[in-house]
């Protein structure tokens, strides 16, 4: 039996990797999956440093000048990288505009037109209540502070302005209260709350404290989850249509004269595992090189690579067995397309919930999902890569569940595959698939 399984696996494996599509996917997939991270890194390395003209529309009559001065001071401090001396942010210049209380909307409209035409980068409106904010002012942008610009939803300028603008306004308030100007800095001193890793003893018995690396805390778990998802989708995604196509082209009937359905499905699963490991190998070799080039070698979680391989094999085994069963049940290419959504759900669902999971990797949702066998590979790997890790028993318990689920799903899939592989015409109903899975 093993000889035939290996023959089938070898043929399917070579058929899968000796295609242009496979090579193209190897290049395209990381760009698509890691596009956001890549863009973010590139953006930080090569920020937009074109000069920005900002209008300040002041309704208070006194705030514009200190606000502009405060912003310019911060801009000057952050304009260049202190280590390299390279400019890392745009240089701001300002145009102060006296507010027209008779027609505030007309004035905002006119400034907005200037932003649209490119004459201004944006305009900051300091409302009449900005100096003495009440609860009502805090909920009203027109009365407090408002930033108008043509930035995207995640534009960072407003966040950046928050600090210097409020600092300037506070100084005015302190001045009105008669506080000595020399004590302003002391009063307004701002302390950061640092995120720290939990304290532990190192091998020498020394207590170690470490400031949490935010990039490491998010990029590593997300990167591991994305890599696993990407490899799984690249392998299992094309499987279902390919099996459905083989069935429609009656290839299986010819093969079934020489091999049993069990040998056929085992060969296909083995080929899928081989294909996924090949894909993973490319990235596991490429990732350290890329991280080294970006000077981020510390982000490579070497200790998680064995888990990555184990999770990858189990996920591919489950999904390729499901692909064989579902593909053999398809009556048309359209059926295969529709059923593919079912197939990739175990990796797509955790991906959709990734932001929630990464925020609380030890929360009930993340823990529960990581112990559910279909989601274990992606979610548990992400949790293991997150700061703090997971209790030692959890990956092993989850792995036990995954192994049981894998055996069960492959067994059920083989039963369906055996029944439906020669069927032609209308695709069977879900109830029929369940019946065949149970009864064989």
């Amino acid at each position: 039996m093993l000889h035939k399984v290996l023959l089938i696996a070898r043929r399917d494996y070579l058929a899968a990797i000796q295609t242009k599509a496979f090579l193209i996917a190897l290049v395209i997939a990381p760009i698509l999956f890691g596009g956001g991270v890549f863009t973010s890194v590139i953006t930080k390395k090569r920020p937009d440093i074109r000069p920005r003209l900002v209008a300040v529309l002041d309704h208070t009559g006194v705030a514009a000048a200190p606000v502009v001065e405060s912003i310019e001071r911060l801009n000057k401090m952050e304009l260049h990288d202190p280590e390299t001396g390279r400019q890392v942010m745009p240089e701001y210049s300002f145009e102060t505009i006296t507010a027209d209380s008779a027609d505030p909307d007309g004035q905002r409209l006119e400034l907005s037109q200037r932003v649209r035409s490119g004459g201004l980068f944006g305009f900051l409106e300091i409302g009449p209540g900005a100096l003495h904010p009440t609860l009502a002012v805090r909920g009203d942008p027109a009365a407090g502070l408002a930033w108008y610009a043509n930035e995207g939803a995640f534009g960072e300028t407003a966040n950046w302005l928050d600090g210097p603008v409020n600092d300037a306004l506070r100084r005015i308030r302190l001045s009105e209260l008669g506080v000595d100007k020399s004590r302003f800095n002391q009063v307004l001193a701002n302390l950061s709350v640092y995120r720290m890793d939990l304290v532990s003893r190192d091998k020498t018995g020394q207590v170690r404290m470490a400031q949490r690396n935010n990039l490491e805390a998010t990029a590593v778990p997300i990167g591991m989850a994305l890599l696993l998802t990407m490899v799984v989708m690249m392998t299992s995604g094309p499987m279902l249509p390919a099996i459905a196509q083989d069935k429609m082209q009656r290839v299986h009937e010819m093969l079934l004269a020489s091999a049993t359905p069990s040998e056929l499905i085992c060969g296909k699963v083995l080929a899928a595992i081989g294909q996924s490991l090949t894909t993973a190998a490319v990235y596991l070799v490429g990732a350290p090189l890329a991280l080294k080039a970006l000077d981020m070698s510390n982000l490579l979680p070497v200790h998680l690579l064995p888990w990555f391989i184990v999770y990858l094999i189990s996920e591919i085994t489950i999904l390729s067995a499901m692909a064989a069963a579902l593909g053999s049940a398809c009556g048309s290419p359209q059926d295969a397309q529709s059923l593919n959504i079912v197939l990739i759900a175990p990796v797509v669902v955790p991906l959709i919930m990734l932001s929630q999971l990464i925020q609380r990797p030890s929360g009930a949702l993340a823990t529960g999902m990581s112990l559910f066998p279909l989601f274990t590979p992606v979610v548990m790997l992400m949790r293991q890569a997150a700061p703090g890790g997971v209790p030692v028993w959890q990956p092993w318990a989850a792995l036990g569940g995954v192994i049981v689920a894998t055996v069960g799903i492959v067994w059920l899939a083989a039963r369906i595959f055996r029944v439906v592989i020669l069927m032609q015409g209308k695709a069977p109903k879900l109830s029929e698939l369940v019946r065949w899975a149970v009864q064989g």
């Binding site: 009656r250 093969l255 091999a259 020669l422 069927m423």
Partner: protein
């Protein structure tokens, strides 16, 4: 086993399906001369799909080294029977033996199978594909055998081309090679000649005859009755899942006594073909062009019919003939025997 010659009752010409089934099941048309070991033995095999009995209580003995023809209308159960012999489908009842051993699962190495549909990996190169099939069947010197067959069937120059570049006929030849690699003692060929041009069909026919000379047992299904008559030593007909014919061509024709009169008439005979259906004893008239054919009703006297013909027209030639396999097929499975309630197709099956 009962010889046809032992049959006391003449077979009615207009026989119903039920009658034929009953007749066959009684063993009237099971004749074997010098029977050797059976390569394939089916005993009371039944296969049901849902509410449709694709094959019903089928018993069949296929002698070793013979060419056995499976005929029957579409959806009658030929392919299902073949799939059960190959081991792809398992019978719901009865048993199947190959070379005296009961089939359990796929009988690897003992059977070569050419399915009706062309099922080859289209992207693979022809040689690699054939070697894959040969290896899967456990062949040892597959590469040399593939080379030999490729040359034999004129595909040598296509060996390194992808299968999708082959014509339909070439694909059929390739699939045939895949089926006969490693010299299986039994070869099942489902519609091997469909879609082939006369030249390709002839080369395949020669290859099949050569297999038989080597001692291979060949089971083939076909809708081409002249081919079945010419090639097959035994004919088995299945209709609505039931065996309706099983025996040598001569035996089968013997079942249907000489009830055909073929004649030709002079050109100036104006009444040719007119009113011949009204001649007493004539059941059916067929105009074949230069020749007319009359089928006699059961029990009618050919001499009386001939006399009536001579009185009506000027005959040039005439002959009393036995029905061809084609005629027999139509008599059993023609429109007259159709029963819509029983002719559900083997959807999801065939």
């Amino acid at each position: 086993m009962i010889s046809l010659s032992d049959r006391a009752t003449p077979l009615p010409l207009q026989c119903s399906i039920d009658w034929v089934c009953k007749y066959v099941s009684n063993g009237f048309c099971r004749v074997r001369a010098g029977a050797s070991m059976n390569a394939i033995q089916l005993r009371n095999v039944t296969k049901v799909f849902g509410s449709v009995a694709a094959v019903s209580d089928l018993s069949l003995s296929i002698p070793e080294g013979s060419i056995y023809g499976f005929i029957g209308p579409n959806g009658s159960g030929k392919t299902t029977t073949m799939r059960m012999i190959v081991g792809i489908l398992h019978p719901d009842g009865g048993s199947i033996q190959l070379m005296g051993k009961e089939v359990k699962g796929v009988p690897i190495g003992r059977i070569g199978y050419l399915p009706e549909e062309r099922g080859l990996y289209r992207k693979m190169r022809l040689r690699a594909l054939l070697e894959f099939h040969g290896s899967l069947r456990g062949g040892l010197n597959v590469s040399a055998e593939v080379t030999e067959w490729l040359q034999r069937l004129g595909l040598a120059e296509w060996a390194d081309k992808p299968v999708e570049a082959l014509s339909k006929g070439m694909s059929q030849k390739a699939q045939f090679i895949a089926a006969v690699l490693c010299r299986p003692p039994i070869v099942i060929l489902d519609e091997p000649f469909s879609g082939l041009d006369p030249v390709a069909a002839e080369s395949l026919r020669e290859a099949i005859l050569e297999l038989r000379q080597r001692g291979t047992t060949v089971v083939l299904s076909t809708h081409d009755m002249p081919t079945a008559e010419a090639m097959c030593e035994f004919i088995f007909m299945i209709f609505r899942g039931k065996k309706v014919l099983d025996g040598s061509l001569a035996d089968i024709q013997e079942l249907y006594s000489s009830d055909i009169i073929r004649f030709s008439i002079s050109n100036d005979s104006s009444r040719a073909g007119h009113d011949l259906g009204e001649v007493p004893g004539v059941e059916q008239v067929r105009d074949l062009g230069r020749v007319q054919e009359l089928r006699l009703a059961h029990g009618s006297d050919p001499q009386l019919v001939l006399r009536e013909l001579v009185s009506r027209t000027q005959l040039i030639s005439f002959a009393l003939a036995k029905p061809s396999l084609h005629d027999i097929f139509l008599r059993i499975a023609g429109p007259a025997s159709a029963d819509p309630s029983e002719t559900k197709s083997e959807s999801n099956v065939a």
